[in-house]
Symmetry: D2
Subunit: 336 residues, 4 copies
């Protein structure tokens, strides 16, 4: 069996996860090269027995042995990296979001299309077993037609302020997962966006021009409503729930807890908290999404989530920002 040769650009937090997964868990791929300007890239390469290290991304994509690149560079480099990889004929796995500008994203998608390479946008939550189970139930008609979808998405703590300043803000670095989830679970497109938000957690976030707490109503093409609430900080851990209410019932998924213990005493019944580290909570999804990407390449099927999925989530995020700023609903068609 042919092994897919992978080059990874950016071996920070996400890049390291993909590196380790690819090396220790996949037999149909090989990490042939990594590219990063960090001083510890050599140590990583040795640890995971990666044959080649490139200081320049441009050099890595000239390597004719490489079939595909995994882009984990900072967000502001994503578009450039995708374009260069596409032009070099490499298939692409890219962390979200592709870019903060819809214009740029459209250009990127056009270039990818012309290049004829595959582009997979890493909305890993689509590959979480819980959310996958919910999607299967919804698509399988278990609850009839969806009418109200509720997504609770709260992080254990806010990211560093410097990140927030360049990330595009809560709607584009955090809620973007939930916007994608809304489309994934329902299989419907968003028509209209209304968002409210405020700063409760850290005044610094407000000073950086962002919010840390938000509520959003998405109106879908079939008039169903998706209600999303976001917080940068849930004191009890990662709060990631979904609930889909339809004509025949309701389905959804609860949080994943640290363990299944219980404790009853004179004060009440007590149990474990939700996981509070994204790598624990979404451990399986990182494996599953890479597995899906590799299978796309091996079987020549369409990547899911696609570049268009990436574009739509960015559009919804931008609409949410406008809605928040202008205090009104925003039609998505105005942005596309």
């Amino acid at each position: 069996m042919k092994k897919i040769n992978i080059g990874i650009v950016g071996v920070g937090r996400m890049g390291s996860i993909h590196l380790e997964n690819l090396v220790t868990k996949f037999t149909n791929a090989r990490v042939l090269a990594i590219s990063d300007t960090s001083p510890n890239v050599e140590a990583l390469a040795e640890k995971y027995q990666v044959a080649k290290v490139y200081s320049q991304f441009e050099s890595m994509i000239k390597d004719s042995e490489i079939d595909a690149v995994v882009i984990c560079s900072p967000t502001d480099l994503h578009a450039t990296h995708i374009i260069k990889a596409a032009k070099a004929g490499k298939h692409i796995f890219c962390e979200k979001p592709m870019d903060l500008s819809l214009e740029t994203v459209k250009e990127v998608l056009e270039i990818v299309k012309i290049a004829g390479v595959k582009l997979f946008i890493a909305f890993n939550r689509r590959y979480d077993p819980n959310f996958q189970r919910v999607e299967k139930m919804v698509k399988g008609g278990k609850i009839g037609d969806p009418q109200i979808i509720k997504i609770t998405s709260r992080d254990p703590g806010p990211p560093p302020l410097p990140y927030i300043k360049v990330s595009g803000g809560l709607f584009l670095d955090m809620a973007i997962h939930d916007f994608d989830m809304a489309r994934f679970i329902s299989g419907k497109e968003v028509v209209e966006v209304f968002s409210k938000g405020t700063v409760f957690i850290d005044k610094g976030i407000g000073d950086a021009g962002d919010i840390d707490t938000a509520a959003t109503i998405l109106t879908m093409e079939d008039n169903s409503m998706v209600i999303i609430d976001n917080s940068r900080k849930a004191s009890y851990g990662y709060d990631q729930r979904i609930e889909v209410f339809g004509s025949k019932g309701m389905c959804g998924s609860e949080n994943m807890l640290h363990d299944n213990h219980f404790h009853w005493d004179e004060n009440g019944i007590h149990g474990a908290l939700p996981m509070d580290f994204f790598m624990d909570r979404y451990l399986k999804s990182y494996y599953n999404e890479m597995d899906s990407f590799l299978n796309c390449l091996l079987n020549n099927t369409e990547p899911k989530p696609s570049g268009m999925d990436g574009l739509m989530s960015i559009a919804i995020g931008l609409a949410a920002k406008t809605s928040l700023q202008e205090g009104r609903t925003v039609k998505l068609s105005k942005l596309l």
Copy 2:
């Protein structure tokens, strides 16, 4: 100990509940009279050993033995009945809503104030033990400052169309409970309302000018957000949940189920459905609210919920209707 003499007007569904509770469960009150034009009022009076039956409300309130009236007449008679009772010097327990017109409600409150009688508006859910427990936790600071409140409020089935045509619609006959709950749990006033809604369940509801499915975001005076979703029909029973997320944690209450059984087989783990009849689900609240009303009279304390609470919920409901119709946020201050 003095017993409070009660006259009940309207012994339909709600009136009968209060009648039975007062007769069988309270020792500090006596139902002295009932007034209703229904033919079976005599039978009810005999069953519950009520001494007097009045075909005319006006006659009942002239009865000098009567201390207080319980108003369970149709909504369009509430205002009239309150005004007459107040002018006759009777204390008043009135089913919600007082009226569909804010102007009328303001007049009613003015008359009540001048008459110096007590007016208790029967938002029974404030007296549900689950919601009371949530309110105590919130007020006791268990979750810090509330930031996001989520209210799920779905009925087992829609009311008859003729009722919908005169009820004021989903926001005034159903969500009004949730609007009151938002104020009750948070202890804060509503500043702004945004509502979306549609017809999914019964086209006839749409033809009657109403919706059957809705999503609302209330912005409170402290910028916290209350998210409410409503459906006229949950196939699995009465869905009545609340969740309060704050700076130090989260609290709330789950649905009340028919029983606590479990069943595990090859297909999954199965359990009981939520209660699907309002008299089962809210059984204790009807007792508790009456108990609270009687204690108000005996101890000369302020009724809760008050006439002002009744007015505020109606205002929020009217704002929600406007928001839905005009596709924009509505400031509550514009209506008050």
Copy 3:
């Protein structure tokens, strides 16, 4: 419709419950008389408008208007009261246990049989909606053939020592409910009993010749095993659970909690405790068992639980005592 005329003997804790239920909730029965030597019997009679008060049980059963007696006298009077009532031709509702001697119980049943009156033994837990649901699932084949039944039965606190000294001890005053439940749920008879037990909670209980903590394995006629654990004191409330494991699955029922609230903070997820007062926990069962008894009389059907059910539970309790004392299994056939 004819009303059944009831005489209640003993209006202590249980007698008062039945009195209130009969007076306020049943239309097919009338409490005509109560008999008790307590000084407050007159006040009770007035409160519930009971026409007749008898200081002597013997006088009450001579009252030709009375159809049935409800026996809530102390345990050591049960047998005498049943015999006298039966001979007077009155139907009988009797609190458990009938007596602590199997010989006496056999005599009692013989006399009842000859008299042709109905005898209902008040194992109220058979009428708890949760346990009824479990029984229906088991009998309906939902879990195939039962193989292992587990009953958790722990009280919130021990009864007074003077009661323990005359009650027959843990196996006859407390676990007797669980022995009856084993037969009720499985529909099978007990063949063999093995019990272990000790004193953990109160040395005084040991001094009184009893235990406060026990574990029992009943072997049923179909070789299925019933495992019962008992404690006189669960610090967290009334712990009353059942679990039935069979060839096709498992079913059972969880505890009833005070409410359905939840609270998540940095220390964990917290919820309400189980109810800790028998009248709350088993509220519905007291109503339901009386309803069943009255329907027996009105429809001339066999009472359930019957006198024989009462006898079997006592036999199992006595076998458990012997097993504990002699450190061996005891065949039930040796006692019957």
Copy 4:
């Protein structure tokens, strides 16, 4: 840092799990050799890049580079392999049980003691995060003094009959985990054993001289009681629960489910089944126990579970067999 050189004997189901874990997840150990007579051992060695393959265990333990052996051979070879490894000065990680004869086990422990090597018995469940959490709560005094411990231990399906014929039967191949768990959680020794059991699932199991369903009461040195129920087949998956009831409360752990989905429809509330494959259910425990073993060697600490832990569980298992056969309680002191 020094790496521990490991030789694995037996690369069947369990041996393969340890092989994969050691190769892909541990940096402080190296699998230097594997020994197995199976034809596919070479392929495994290549897949995991194991340098040496020995057809004879005796040859492998002569390899001076090897520090420790992981014994995953069939049960009847465990004792021989431990003895030979000990005499060769190798530390030992051995799958349970060591042997079915207490005499042999005692000899083995004596030889290990003289050799001065470490012996770790692989009761992996002690390293399951759920059970570890329970043990910590109990040892930390969260529930006061334990009084009743309940262990539910049911497999998704019976092992093959040929295995049952040589395994020592349900008490020694399956319940042995629960006997160890009783000692682990309570920190107390077993004094007396009573077991009942029968054949419900497969007549062939009975023909092989074994049972498939059992109930056991262990009396501990502090008079607390451990109640264990076992079944070879739970139709709904792996049922592995524990509950510890004590003077101040109760703690325990629930089953691990496939996922956290929920589904409400007209028939009830439905959720996921427990995991039904031991490698999923106990995934983390296999990693954790190996980590603990390696740390023992690196830090020169005592292995837990020790050889004595292995001996005690076998003794309890043999006592349970005697109790079942003779219908009486068995004192453990008689066997030791």
